[in-house]
Symmetry: D2
Subunit: 288 residues, 4 copies
């Protein structure tokens, strides 16, 4: 340690650095030499005392859930589980695993398959939140605003997220089961109810009577009522289907069939053969 007093200017600069706001700030967790605090709780106290779903709730919402809330979140996490090889991300993960039999790489690849074209509760969550904000900030009664929203979307040819199913008509039994649990847990409220009002307005359109509110949409509504943001909803959807991807990747690594490609006969390739030497010359490149 330098025993000489620091020159005044440097010391003042350092003083400023000490008082500048820190670059990073987090309330999620904290680590000391011997302890880990999860949202302020000592991890050592938590072991075996809080199920994984409840710990997940705590990590995201910042408080310990009631047993009913933990149960409900657990039900949401278990609602979809896996979609076999009918999910693009899962197939991609298997392709990656066949070339690079590394679990983290394959899981990461699988997760990247979540986006604009996939059924994500986040869509319904975002829609639900925004619709409710319109209801709260406006003066129209719910029934009228619901009808207006439906009309707007129809005119813009935009679809309402969370609706529809290839087979189920009028009611999606899995969505209904989830709603029952939510109501029982006291996690059903005005946002979800207004979304259902919009669904009712939609099904009053001739020809649309049987369009269901599906399980993924219901997941979105329940998570909104539980206080999760749309981004968190996407994260929870990814969490919920990760065990399935792990199972697929493990199965692929075990099958040890290296370098998967497209199966024989499933691809057509442009068969055109062109003359490189001529075309290169014609494009203006000098002869070598």
């Amino acid at each position: 340690m330098n025993v000489n007093p620091a020159p005044a200017a440097e010391a003042l600069e350092a003083q400023e650095q000490l008082t500048a706001p820190p670059y990073w700030s987090t309330s999620v967790s904290r680590v000391t030499d011997s302890k880990v605090f999860i949202r302020g709780y000592d991890l050592e106290d938590m072991i075996g005392e809080l199920p994984f779903s409840a710990a997940t709730f705590l990590l995201l919402r910042g408080r310990i859930p009631t047993p009913a809330e933990a149960d409900l979140l657990d039900a949401v996490l278990s609602a979809v589980l896996d979609y076999s090889l009918q999910k693009s991300g899962t197939v991609a993960a298997r392709y990656i695993a066949s070339a690079n039999p590394n679990m983290p790489a394959a899981l990461a690849a699988g997760i990247l398959g979540v986006g604009k074209n996939t059924m994500d509760p986040c869509e319904t969550a975002r829609f639900c939140i925004q619709a409710y904000e319109r209801l709260e900030s406006g003066s129209l009664p719910a029934e009228e605003l619901a009808q207006q929203i439906v009309d707007e979307l129809r005119s813009r040819k935009q679809r309402i997220p969370g609706l529809g199913h290839p087979v189920f008509r009028y009611v999606d039994p899995r969505a209904q089961k989830l709603k029952e649990k939510a109501v029982a847990a006291g996690a059903w409220g005005p946002r979800a109810e207004f979304f259902e009002q919009i669904h009712r307005a939609f099904t009053s359109i001739p020809g649309k009577e049987s369009i269901v509110l599906n399980d993924v949409g219901m997941m979105g509504l329940v998570l909104v009522e539980m206080g999760f943001s749309p981004e968190e909803t996407t994260g929870l959807a990814i969490l919920s289907t990760l065990p399935g991807v792990i199972a697929h990747v493990a199965e692929e690594i075990k099958a040890a069939r290296p370098i998967r490609t497209v199966p024989e006969g499933t691809a057509e390739y442009d068969q055109t053969v062109r003359n490189f030497v001529n075309d290169r010359k014609d494009s203006g490149w000098d002869a070598e």
Copy 2:
């Protein structure tokens, strides 16, 4: 549909295609128009009847776990939870989220931080399995082989995975809690016991007496005894810390501080300034 019978040659070729082994094969799940089967079970029957940890066990191991096994897996999943900004993957995920506020992208980035330098129960799992294979296929008694393995690793300057902690001495209380649960669930067996024998042999070295069997190592042993492969162990470790990463990414997206870089004053840059025009010429490039 073409009512004319297929020409003989084409029909034979098609027949061969029909009997060729399929490119893909999976037992994890199956999807029909209206149903999803998870390891042969109708998902509709499962809703609300199997907690997420038990569904995770089913997806990976292919059978429904006992309540005690589900409980144990849940405890393993809840053993670590989060490691704040002391985990490279989490910090990387936050950097990604600051530039690309997209949950799947940020989670994928975080997961890619699992590798050679991280504490992964997979290491202990693999070591445990291999050590036990040596025991089974050889003729040395456990105590002697344990000592031999310790001596081999010492001479190669290789460390034993799953051991050590910056603060805990002799016993890691979190590891011990996990072991108690495993024993109670009937998921403690000869593989884990032989690993403990190796640990004992290691701690008989002067100066190493207080080196603990840590919580991550214990997770590996428990998962091995539960029948999971090392790759599945990595997958489960990633699953267990995913809620934490989701929480960090959500926090980062909410903070909306775009384009994180290295904090002021934490980086030194090579300040050398070189003359491009001269050096380019000296390297043999023609003047323009």
Copy 3:
């Protein structure tokens, strides 16, 4: 081979499979036992005859570029190169490499840092294409439509992509150099010109006179005029900065400083300590 004729029904089904459109279709390349065809050209003919930038053009646009076009694309690829630790993706890549010293994983993580908050030529490309479509499909003269677009964006508080720089005023010399090359290569046209008209309209706003059209925006315009789609523009931007990320990751792997975290003193952690046992009980969980 089965010498018996195929049963009629199975043969007809197989016949349908043979005539069904293939699942995959590509014109990018084709592989046989001994040859690879790149957009119809034999790769063996190409070796050493087409520089990498020209091969890149061929892969994306499907034809051999003129030497001037190849030169221009090469200039676009070389326009930015690297942005040191001031780019979130690069820092994330270094964090990943410190924990998982694996080049593919670290590069993938770095690439995921491209998104909504990053300067991407894709934004300007998309804007440029859409603005020109409005010009073509409407009846307003360019100057008027340019002003109208500027007014619309101002009223919606939306910014025009591709404009602005912390230091450069009126002209960004790097953007101008790129434009000169484009004009010389015959790759400057009505789309880029209309964007410049919009820029001029913008700079006629009092206080905005010195706002430049920057290098990333110019990259977008040039790539649009070269016929690339906005997605391809993003891909080329990623390609152009990949050597920089490789250099950073290699430097990090070589430094071998495992498990990077946030530097000492740069993070504040919520210090609240809560009583888990009490709070758990208060949340409704039974005592064990």
Copy 4:
């Protein structure tokens, strides 16, 4: 600014912080308000004066290459280009793009397909470097050591990287073209030559006479002689095939065929149907 002098203790602590080694250190590039320095060179001087391949060399090796070296690196980058749908990573990237039409996500997924089972010049590079180290540090003449290495690998049933091709016999013409360029550029040396010696020793084994040194292996040798590390070699291989992946992803996004799955008839699914209610009860779960 605080005009009072800093208290002695705080000032001393701050002084220590100022003198502590910085957390990050890089020589790759540096950014100021108006300038970017690439390995010490002002980027503004570089525009249009250094082709992309040469800039790549500069970023990685830290010096401007000679025109011949830049040419050689460019040839290496152009040696493979694309492998159509016969590359797992490319197929994975297309799957991701079909669900999440986002270029960065799809490229990242494609890159994750580089690993243990893929042909990577990095393998040959690493092998070449290690073999040469043995030659230098030992006393055996090259011919003898080469034979010994071949014998060792044969006995361990390990293959030599960089050898073999499904069709080419004795000589891979693409590899030879690349070697000629390397020799002409003065980038052929003792490491590559010793590898060729090992190759000759291998082909002296009866039955192995026609096994070629292939193009990917030759890429590895040339990059080693150019001074790149094995990790950098992997990075350059990824760079070289990125335009191809961009082309495939762009084609996929344009085809707009959302949610790719496995093609009809290419997958077999375990058809077992099990009774969930019974099995759950038999596994020890209480009836609800």
